[in-house]
Subunit: 204 residues, 2 copies
């Protein structure tokens, strides 16, 4: 399975700005990308990082500085085989979760993200195109129906958890021992449990 | 599989107070309970609602006004067979997701909730007891290890989504056509997509 991993090389995970400096966000995003590539490496995926600028990583990088939707659709235009798209901030992704995605039957297979996003998908229909704006999982269901593509969804908490909000750091510390989790621990983040929801605090 | 569904009959889903009156919260919570019971009815589960007070519903109700942890552990003390616990605010639960939970091998099978909770679990070990305070999924892993129980986790977005925060209403409208989703639509809630995250608004 060919897999695109879109990656913002300039200003990644901007919603983490309240808790990380721009430089830290770039470093943390690179660790999350590393986690996603580690998980993909344990599957039969053939990944390409689709980046807005140069990135150092162990798989091929295609640079396209257009917005996400246009850059992905250009690859769908050119695709001659099934193509998967897996977001780079899925720090909880595991080989098992990704294999469930790749192995699910359907012309379009969606892994919904929390809040209406589409965190990962597989496209096996020549006319389907993405639109990541708004409630994209709903729009992708409708687009698939319009072009006559069958759809299926993968029910995965790990794939639903894109780490782009300070509250999401809790999930990384609770459910991963990978690169991003180690980076957070090294940066002083730790879990705090009190009377309300679990949260993270940073030493220092 | 015997399944307990704990339900707060007095002040359910208190974090929804910013968007629902106390009376509306009780009505919405009853609809979510209905969704969970509908999903369980399509499995081979044998459900009991473990409520803090009287509830009208189509399955047996056991009333226990103690806090959640004490009430569940009293049932575990008395259990002679595997016992599952499924929270009543899992409005996105489906028979397939619940069957994945019940069918997973392990002395203790955990379905993590977002933010460190334990939204559902199966207990097949005589010494394991729950503690829902704090980051319970982490604590339950540790407790299982302490009593020598094997653990497994179910990776499900549907089971990870307990609807107890205004932001969670988005998930109900996007991923369910059940009782709670219809209640929200009838109450005037609809999805709003803009430049940021998808959210709900209520017609006024």
């Amino acid at each position: 399975m060919e897999v695109l991993v879109p990656f913002d090389a300039q200003d990644p995970n901007s919603r983490l700005a309240p808790v990380l400096t721009p430089e830290e966000r770039r470093a943390f995003a690179a660790e999350m990308l590393g986690d996603v590539l580690d998980a993909l490496a344990a599957t039969d995926a053939d990944p390409t990082v689709l980046a807005t600028g140069p990135v150092e990583c162990p798989v091929p990088v295609a640079v396209d500085d257009r917005p996400l939707t246009a850059a992905v659709n250009a690859r769908l235009d050119a695709a001659e085989a099934p193509l998967a798209v897996v977001m780079a901030d899925l720090a909880l992704a595991t080989p098992v979760a990704l294999e469930r995605l790749f192995g699910t039957v359907g012309d379009v297979v969606l892994a919904p993200g929390r809040g209406g996003g589409t965190n990962a998908l597989v496209v096996r229909h020549p006319e389907f195109r993405v639109d990541y704006h708004g409630a994209s999982v709903r729009d992708h269901r409708e687009t698939a129906a319009e072009v006559g593509a069958s759809t299926a969804e993968v029910d995965s908490f790990r794939l639903a958890t894109d780490v782009d909000d300070p509250a999401d750091l809790v999930e990384v510390l609770l459910h991963s021992e990978g690169r991003a989790a180690r980076w957070l621990a090294d940066a002083g983040f730790e879990l705090v449990t009190g009377d309300g929801r679990v949260r993270t605090e940073r030493e220092g």
